[in-house]
Symmetry: C2
Subunit: 477 residues, 2 copies
Amino acid sequence: MSVVLREISPNIRSIRPPRYTALSVRAAQIREELRQGVKKPYTELIDVTWGDPQGAGLKPLTFARQVLAACLYPKLLNNERLPADVRQRAEGLLHECHGGSVGSYTDLPGIPQVARQISEFISRRDGGVPSDPDHILISPGSQWALQNILSVLVRGGGGVRSGVLTPQPSYSLSVMSVVGLGGVPVPYQLWEEQGWEVQVEELNRALESAEGECDPVALYVINPGNPSGHVQRRESIQDVIKFASEKRLFLLADEVYQDCIYKENIEFLSYKRVLAEMGPPFCDTVELASFHSASKGLLGECGFRGGYVELVNMDPAVMKHVFTIFSKDNAPTPGQIALSVMASPPQPGDPSYPLYRTEKQQMQTLIKDNVRKVHEVLNSLPGVSSHPVEGGAFAFPRIDLPPKAIQKAKDLGMEPDIFYCLRLLEDAGLFFTPGCEYGQKDGTYHVRFCIMVTKDTMDDLLTRLAAHHTQFMNDFS
Amino acid sequence: MSVVLREISPNIRSIRPPRYTALSVRAAQIREELRQGVKKPYTELIDVTWGDPQGAGLKPLTFARQVLAACLYPKLLNNERLPADVRQRAEGLLHECHGGSVGSYTDLPGIPQVARQISEFISRRDGGVPSDPDHILISPGSQWALQNILSVLVRGGGGVRSGVLTPQPSYSLSVMSVVGLGGVPVPYQLWEEQGWEVQVEELNRALESAEGECDPVALYVINPGNPSGHVQRRESIQDVIKFASEKRLFLLADEVYQDCIYKENIEFLSYKRVLAEMGPPFCDTVELASFHSASKGLLGECGFRGGYVELVNMDPAVMKHVFTIFSKDNAPTPGQIALSVMASPPQPGDPSYPLYRTEKQQMQTLIKDNVRKVHEVLNSLPGVSSHPVEGGAFAFPRIDLPPKAIQKAKDLGMEPDIFYCLRLLEDAGLFFTPGCEYGQKDGTYHVRFCIMVTKDTMDDLLTRLAAHHTQFMNDFS
């Protein structure tokens, strides 16, 4: 017997791999078959399982990449072909790197200039609510930051375990982090009929359900929703804050899609802002960690691993522990540079501004068009219903699977929505993820796919989806 | 009372911040005072607390930065001023990035081409011992990889806790990781009199000391040593492997300084190679994880956060869990590109080779000169003894502090070596770390400083150190 099998940590053992592993394996096989020239009804697989705009062919912002290139290869600082504001930004950042090089460790927790730019960005975003750069911790991605905040909050094994209220449906990595620490995810159901709204009654029910099971310490929210695509309104955020205050829960606000709002006449409101504007006693007592990232939104630089968390009302004694944990790993310098661009993009009058504005508008127009088309097509399909994607990177339609399809899946020992996704993958070359991966109400089935893709990909995807879905419903009617 | 203070995880609470925090605080103040023009016997503080060559003014390898710049800003692929092999390498890497962009998530756990290059590098390094790219997991730095392997091995809280045999002196971050998981570090003393050699008797003593305290599951080694500067010989590695085999311990080999060997006539031997060459039963039973990084060695790209672990003889059932953990975070693409350059540098005949060879030789000559000078100066000082730095990035001399200095430190409620470092910082502007941070035999005192600095810095450092030390010894004689 292996040395390790005897010893493997029970927390880690209880992390389950994604439920759609069978789909990933089959997708890899199909890719290989296509490479080898095997004939299929499609010549290319469309993988929309991740929120990865550049992986799907979208182009990075030129300004971001020029600044990065100049920081990494400073000979470019003398290259007249690079705009002056690019060179100036790169020089400023290099000046704050030890030894003037991006190859050195940065200050902890982050390059001071970048922390300042982020705090200014937050304050502008939040209508002037102040933000303290000393309460911003830069990290290798927002999930890394969330994992480390959780490691301070969650007590696992030995005595009563900590619980974290977690939305259903929810991005699964966060649940994985709670489980890996020995904590207990306490699911609360988002209200699909009301466009995936958070309900306080449901939060109360979830909290009561935890009694005797665990000691709930935190409430995790994702806004804009992943996978739900819902954007919370002010009243809803106020309700959640009051609930957290009353029940003494630490608020973890995953706000990485704040930049991606598609619905007309609504704006993103941060938990930080709503909390501040609620005034006492809330504004100076409710503890909040708000997460953001350079991977998401219009910047979409997933490969650089740059994120941050802003801490609000955290006890200084606890903050000390959080700093110690964060000081264990430096955020990669290129990710920090990407954050600098996100927090402080070119402004009117800057040489890079016209191109930046054009690229940004093109991207916004593209995604809004995608969202519109997705809504039209989905709601024209039999048995499919989908709320408008208000924000975020994903559509999450509900599929009312015919009883024969559900029976077929059960015969195969498979979740019905995995069966649906497998057929979609096999027959139409579309790689979607099943709703069971994110949690869904019993008896309901969903699929998730990313809407941040090129126009051609989206048109192709929707054509394939419509044809396949109609066929599928006929086959099992 | 804070929500969190009531709940903070006891494992996290037991991680202590670095012991030299008082020194860091004072160093920051001194920097600020110098900026404000306060008169001191020095105009600049020399901070040699980290192994951060570029932070200390060393230059990055041109080939690495050119490849990175071309990958990040692909317009440079058409720039004739960049050597053809740079553009070819960048094109090959971009081809394996989704969407042809470094801004996308990479395959897990890493860009396939980079994993292949690393496995070829390992096999070349190990005299032909095969290496399987599927057993190489690319990570955001070697410490991240170590932390995640530990999270699988270590069981903390609830029942018997796991122990990890850890060298003394030892790089403190690894100890922090064990504690943070609720595990117990079981220190074994390196044998200073024998040049910081590992002793099997001492390993046995440590193991016995753990009885009733914890269940030892792993043995952690650092070779070349940090902070010891020792390089293990084949017989010593064989002894450690036999011990791990007999006691059924998982071997964790931190080999990030494998590229940095200064002593004549010795070469770096990896645990993987020695294990393979020992033959059965060891070669196919002893479980080993070997860590390496793009941050260390001649590449020295600390800012990019690229590392890897190679797993040897790990049970496939355990490997599955390890993969799940590693799949939680993508290694940053620029860090992976740095690893590609480390594993597969320019070869004779390539356009970039002459410059690469020159830069590499200059760096090697510089560090060897530094090491020689450090040895000469240290051993000329009263009460200082230092083994030759055989490898790694640090000198770790022993300082026989006069009883009056020890008494003075005690009066101040301070570890004697912290007191020594504080005086050195205050009076000479040298920021060293105290031996108590790494663990040292009772009644012995050491300091650690990085030897990867420019010639001018090293000359200045040694002049200041010699003058200050002589004064210090006089003051307390």
